[in-house]
Amino acid sequence: MAFDYIPGNTWIHRLDPRVKIIMYVVFSIFIIGYSDPTILALLVVCMLIIIKSAKVPFDRFTPILKAITPILILYAVFNLIGYHAPWTPTLLCYLFGHPIYVETIVYIVGMQLRFIGFALLIRLILLVTPIKDLISALTRWKLPPEFALAMGAAVSYLPVLLRETQTTMEAQAARGVEYKTRNPVRALKRYIPVIIPSLLNSLRRAQQIAIAVELRGFTYNPAKRTERKQLKYTALDYMVLGILAVVGAVGLLGSVWIFDWGNYRFTLRLMGWIYKTVSEIISSIF
């Protein structure tokens, strides 16, 4: 399940949801702004430290990591064949007669770390923040109450819709549908008896929600609605905000101004430098 909040009382749980959203944005700046594997690896390590300190069991991340594995592999294969560095690349070796360049490998690792970073980030935020807190944070930032309501309802109905789809799958299996097939077109066709009832059910649910919203007085006077959840920043929030501001600014500037960092050439130079130093040391010994 995508919205399984794990209750806890660590520093990250105690953060104001608004700070958590800002944290999400800052991490995203790094993930989007950098493609250099060294920097992204540092970022992933940083996230692992936060996960550890939030006392979230790591197995909660395995499903999403498993889900992105095929993407990672496909990405690697396509780029090994199709990627061309914008300058003269360094040859590493030949694979089935196809040249493999150092640049290609570094580029692929960088992009894969991006995927992994994003996957961990989304999971982490949702595991340590109840969805209603995220919604009240957004409402505080002038998100119209209608949107907040829609988001809340979507989240609360998710288990219902999943349960109903499961039931439909079982009902059709009892009528002799076998879902397992290797032919993707046939597989899609076999899912039609599942997709249609599920779709119609969610439409029916949508109308019910519209009625429920009316009957519970939502349209009474939306402008004068009370927001029960009062958000207030604490010292911890200010501290984390400060750190995030500095880190975010440095990250943004680094990405924009120090071009080498924003590109994976930083890792290449680092590798070049390590290679040079090591070979110098070796040659000085012999």
């Binding site: 609360s156 039931t167 009902a171 009528r175 002799g176 009832p197 009625i211 007085g217 029960r228």
Partner: protein, 590 residues
């Protein structure tokens, strides 16, 4: 009684797409603090009436509305649903329709936030109503993950939190299991006593509500045919029974007895009252309670046929079609749903499986067609170990009709829907056509074969669902809660169809909460509790073990309870009202 809070004048309503009015010329008033019970068969216009009171008609559902509905001095046409909802709280049959917040606390707060209450008042009311609904433990849970009874309590708490003075309850317990219903009725009784709210409740289950209702309104085909104090209307009980309403057994019994010439002054509604009246009658006929071991009249006469009416299983000489041996099932997450279940099912049996939600009924039957595989133990279906064969293979032998037809219907026509299963079995065109025709004939839906199933009524859609399983010609048919949320007549119609199929040689297994229908149709009953079988046997024997049934939170029908209370007078266990009358006849009482 206080002032009028709801007044309905010459109300007629026709839905936008409808040709026939759903309500015809309704007139009635509700006074403050009154409890009004509205009943009537499916399609009588009960839900439409509720929608007219809370303003969903004319503001949400389109159609032609004539006449007026005045709530607390305000004409519903001239205001909004949101405004009316500050005065009227509405609760539906399916609680999940009204739950829209991520947590129970937020759910209770939702209405209060909408009406702009200050934060500390909202917090105070959350605490008050979360306690009333006994949901303190679940305050941070997603309401949709609660049990049915808890969900309905959550809806009630969040509706009450706004402190409306009128409550509209549209079949609030129809989707709940017996514990859930009892939980809700207890809360309801408390409210009626302490809060003096005006309550308008639509219900099929009259037994629980007739004794507390101040007024009974009966709708039939859009018209109000009865309206008055329930005690004065009890003489019309037979009329209501013939309309397909679920009237209390004892009330029906006494109106029959009166017709047969027995001098009955007052017609009772509860088992207790009926018992007290009956013992007086028995004593006047010189029938006294036996001391020590009591035998019933038939045993005394040494007749072989103890039960004059009712079915008896014919297991002995046949080989079982389904064998379950020490079956355990553990769901992911470690929930033990079945803990060592063993049973045998014989050809041509008609079995009901009873028990609370979560007692393992559905988990058990899902093993019969391989939807679930045993964690431990084994399930043998027609000699096949379910672990080694596919669901599709088992589907040829064991058919499974799910509770909600909308979870499976997907075709453009009824014909295609019924043909889907046989097509999956890779049968020839002619064979498929033949089977579709036959299934449609048995379920009496031939005239709808070329219609779009989505345009049919719920009852017809359910028949389409049964036909689409029947066309696969299973030898065992499992039906999951076919009567939940339907009136007694519709429930009976479905049971009649199953009974007919049973006579044609199909083994029937029905999961149900309806003890009355179970008593009327089944031969064998299996009672489950917490993943184990509590009772298994002839339904008459099972229903006479009232103390064990109570452990599973079940109650046999009123008439069975009454006959058990009178056991010491020599009355055998009765499953139906007609039987009971027969007993009294044979005992020489009437």
């Amino acid at each position: 009684m206080g002032r009028e809070v709801i007044s309905i004048k010459n109300l007629t309503f026709t839905y936008g797409e409808g040709k026939k009015p759903a309500l015809k010329n309704i007139n009635f008033n509700v006074r403050e603090g009154e409890i009004v019970l509205i009943t009537g068969p499916s399609g009588a216009g009960k839900t439409t009436l509720i929608r007219c009171i809370n303003g969903l008609i004319p503001h949400f559902f389109r159609g032609i509305m004539e006449g007026d509905v005045i709530v607390d001095g305000v004409n519903t046409r001239e205001t909004t649903v949101a405004y009316l909802s500050s005065k009227i709280g509405t609760v539906f049959q399916d609680p999940s329709e009204l739950l829209i917040s991520p947590t129970v606390e937020d759910e209770i707060a939702f209405g209060l936030e909408n009406f702009g209450y200050p934060v500390d008042e909202i917090e105070r009311r959350i605490e008050k109503y979360i306690k009333l609904a006994r949901l303190e433990k679940h305050r941070n849970r997603n309401p949709h993950t609660l049990s049915g009874g808890e969900q309905q309590s959550c809806v009630l708490a969040s509706v009450l939190a706004v402190e409306p003075n009128i409550l509209l309850l549209d079949e609030p317990t129809s989707n709940l299991d017996p514990i859930g219903s009892r939980m809700f009725f207890n809360l309801f009784a408390q409210l009626a006593k302490e809060e003096r709210k005006t309550i308008v409740i639509v219900e099929h289950k009259l037994e629980e509500l007739l004794p507390v209702a101040d007024r009974l309104v009966v709708l039939y085909d859009g018209e109000m045919i009865l309206n008055g104090n329930p005690r004065h209307l009890l003489t019309d009980i037979k009329k209501m029974y013939k309309m397909g309403l679920k009237v209390p057994d004892v009330t029906l019994l006494f109106s029959e007895l009166r017709e047969k010439g027995l001098d009955v002054k007052e017609i009772p509604m509860t088992v207790e009252d009926a018992y007290n009246i009956l013992i007086k009658i028995l004593e006047s006929k010189k029938i006294r309670p036996a001391k020590g071991k009591h035998t019933n009249i038939y045993e005394k006469e040494n007749r072989k046929e103890v039960m004059p009416i009712g079915n008896r299983g014919e297991k002995a000489e046949h080989k079982p079609v389904i064998i379950v041996r020490d079956l355990w099932h553990v769901y992911p997450g470690g929930i033990e749903a079945l803990k060592g279940v063993s049973l045998e099912i014989y050809p041509r049996e008609f079995i009901v499986i009873l028990g609370q939600n979560g007692s393992g009924k559905t988990t058990l039957v899902k093993h019969f067609n391989g939807l679930l595989k045993p964690t431990r133990g084994e399930v043998i279906v027609y000699g096949m170990d379910t672990k080694t064969v596919s669901i599709a293979e088992l589907a040829k032998k064991v058919g499974y009709v799910f509770q909600n037809p909308d979870h499976q219907i997907f075709s453009k026509t009824v014909r295609e829907e019924i043909a889907f299963g046989p097509k999956n079995l890779k049968l020839s065109e002619e064979e498929i056509d033949e089977r579709v025709a036959e299934a449609a004939r048995i379920l009496k839906i031939e005239e709808y074969l070329d219609e779009n199933p989505f345009n049919l009524s719920w009852g017809l859609r359910q028949r389409v669902a049964i036909a689409s399983i029947l066309s696969m010609k299973p030898e065992v048919l499992i039906v999951d809660e076919p009567t939940t949320g339907q009136d007694h007549k519709t429930g009976r119609e479905i049971m009649e169809i199953l009974c007919k199929l049973n006579k044609e040689g199909i083994t029937i297994i029905v999961i149900t909460h309806d003890m009355k229908l179970a008593a009327e149709y089944a031969q064998r009953a299996i009672v489950m509790k917490e993943g184990r079988i509590l009772l298994d046997g002839n339904i008459r024997d099972v229903f006479s073990k009232i103390e064990v049934l109570k452990e599973a939170y079940l109650m046999p029908p009123q008439i069975t309870q009454l006959s058990l209370k009178l056991r010491k007078y020599g009355v055998p266990t009765a499953l139906r009202v007609e039987e009971f009358i027969q007993f009294l006849n044979d005992m020489g009482v009437i």
